[in-house]
């Protein structure tokens, strides 16, 4: 079963990106053979709705699980509905995160670990003017 790891770079030695919706790449990888494909995240620069769009990107690759640092409420709901497991709290390189996953050292979550928009990295709050949309 393939998994998707949110990553700051396009290979297994890249650091895990703690943000799901706004990560640079998804590494779609077989945790056993380590055969992988790097998919650039089209939502990295988008203004809105990146979490649910990221869920669709990894969902369309047929993964059974997502490995990331944090996950917000919208992608959590989308991934759950599609039966995709979510493992949060991953760090280090993508390869190290896969090791942790294989050895059962990552936490499977069933509810969001952060609030929506946290991936914007400006303190994670709901600052009044920042997230107003057009």
């Amino acid at each position: 079963m393939k998994v998707a790891v949110s990553s700051q770079g396009p290979d297994l030695e890249s650091p895990v990106d703690p943000r799901f919706g706004r990560c640079a790449y998804f590494i779609i990888v077989d945790p056993e053979t380590r055969e992988y494909e790097a998919v650039a995240n089209p939502g990295v620069q988008a203004a809105h709705g990146v979490g649910t769009q990221a869920a669709q990107v990894v969902g369309s690759r047929g993964v059974g699980a997502v490995i990331t640092g944090n996950i917000g409420p919208n992608p959590m709901r989308a991934l759950s509905a599609a039966g995709i497991e979510v493992y949060a709290g991953a760090g280090g390189t993508v390869a190290q995160a896969l090791d942790a996953y294989v050895s059962g050292n990552l936490t499977k979550v069933s509810s969001p670990t952060v609030a929506t928009h946290s991936g914007l990295g400006r303190g994670g709050g709901g600052g009044r003017r920042r997230f107003s949309t057009s």
Partner: protein, 304 residues
């Protein structure tokens, strides 16, 4: 009060905006509305729908309200074949299709209707979702309108557009815009005849004024500047305005009495001697510039 200067087919729309928050937009908008209402039919529209506050100073008697709704999709899961066309067309990720699951995220939906239109199975229908409210009434001579976005909602412009539907032919409409230069501010100032940018002589005031000037230039709006607390800070805002050929329409001093009136929810025009005349003069200056800067509107052109 209608006078000779108000022709029924004439209307002037003044927006009051600022890059930076807390510079005095509402203070200016409310005082201008009160001062000009002695000479014109004045309508004040508080378009800061995330945090409306003009009502605190005008204390209007509200006469009516209406809910602002957005059409959001609902998917008939029996008809859906999970083709993903709806998700593909949605720019905001408000509809997602993963494997054989389709989900709608109403709070992400901008109500464009694309998914409904393009669903080949006709599985998508729309239902209205309330995102805010518009309330209107009168504060003495001033007609009053404001909008309120429901708590937790992020989508401001539909509520802004709903309050702006209350712009009427004739008279003077003053729009109190939200701070910033993002969609809520753009939605508020668009279509006005003149934009008054309120700022303060501080580094933050200058930085955000420059952003607001970029916004109004992009929108093609004639604009001038009011410097609040002009006697604090430095001269860099004045120098900037001179370089940019932006008229400085008024300078409001840092005055403890103004601050005290504000803190009590009172206005300078009503409470402090001399201020009605000063805001009347400023209002006339702005109206003059707004009328001169007006481009012809369809109604102007077609009127005999």
């Amino acid at each position: 009060m209608t006078t000779m200067t108000d022709r029924a087919d004439r209307r002037v729309i003044i927006s009051v905006a600022s890059g930076k928050g807390g510079t005095g937009k509402t203070t200016l908008a409310v005082n201008l509305a009160l001062a000009l209402s002695a000479f014109h039919d004045v309508r004040l529209i508080d378009a800061d729908v995330e945090e409306p506050n003009a009502h605190i100073f005008l204390r209007p008697d509200l006469e009516g309200s209406r809910t602002v709704e957005l059409p959001v999709p609902e998917v008939d899961k029996d008809r859906c074949r999970f083709c993903g066309r709806c998700a593909e067309v949605c720019a905001y990720g408000a509809v997602t299709v993963i494997a054989d699951s389709v989900l709608v995220f109403p709070e992400l939906c901008h109500g464009c209707g694309g998914c409904t239109l393009l669903c080949p199975e006709k599985a998508v229908t729309e239902r209205p979702r309330a995102i805010g409210v518009v309330e209107w009434g009168r504060a003495g001579e001033v007609a009053f309108v404001h909008g309120r976005l429901n708590p937790g909602e992020a989508l401001v412009p539909p509520v802004t557009r709903a309050v702006k539907e209350f712009i009427r032919p004739g008279g003077v409409t003053i729009i109190d815009a939200p701070p910033g230069t993002a969609c809520p501010a753009v939605a508020a100032v668009s279509g006005s005849d003149y934009c008054v940018l309120v700022t303060e002589p501080t580094p933050f005031g200058l930085n955000d004024l420059a952003l607001a000037v970029e916004m109004v230039r992009k929108l093609g709006l004639p604009a001038g500047v009011v410097i609040n607390r002009f006697d604090l800070g430095d001269r860099r805002v004045e120098d900037y305005c001179a370089r940019q050929r932006l008229p400085v329409l008024g300078r409001i001093p840092f005055d403890r009495k103004l601050a005290e009136a504000y803190a009590r929810g009172r206005t300078a025009v009503d409470d402090l001697p001399g201020w009605r005349d000063r805001f009347s003069a400023l209002g006339r200056e702005i109206l003059e510039r707004a009328s001169n800067g007006r481009r012809p509107r369809i109604s102007d052109v077609s009127d005999p």
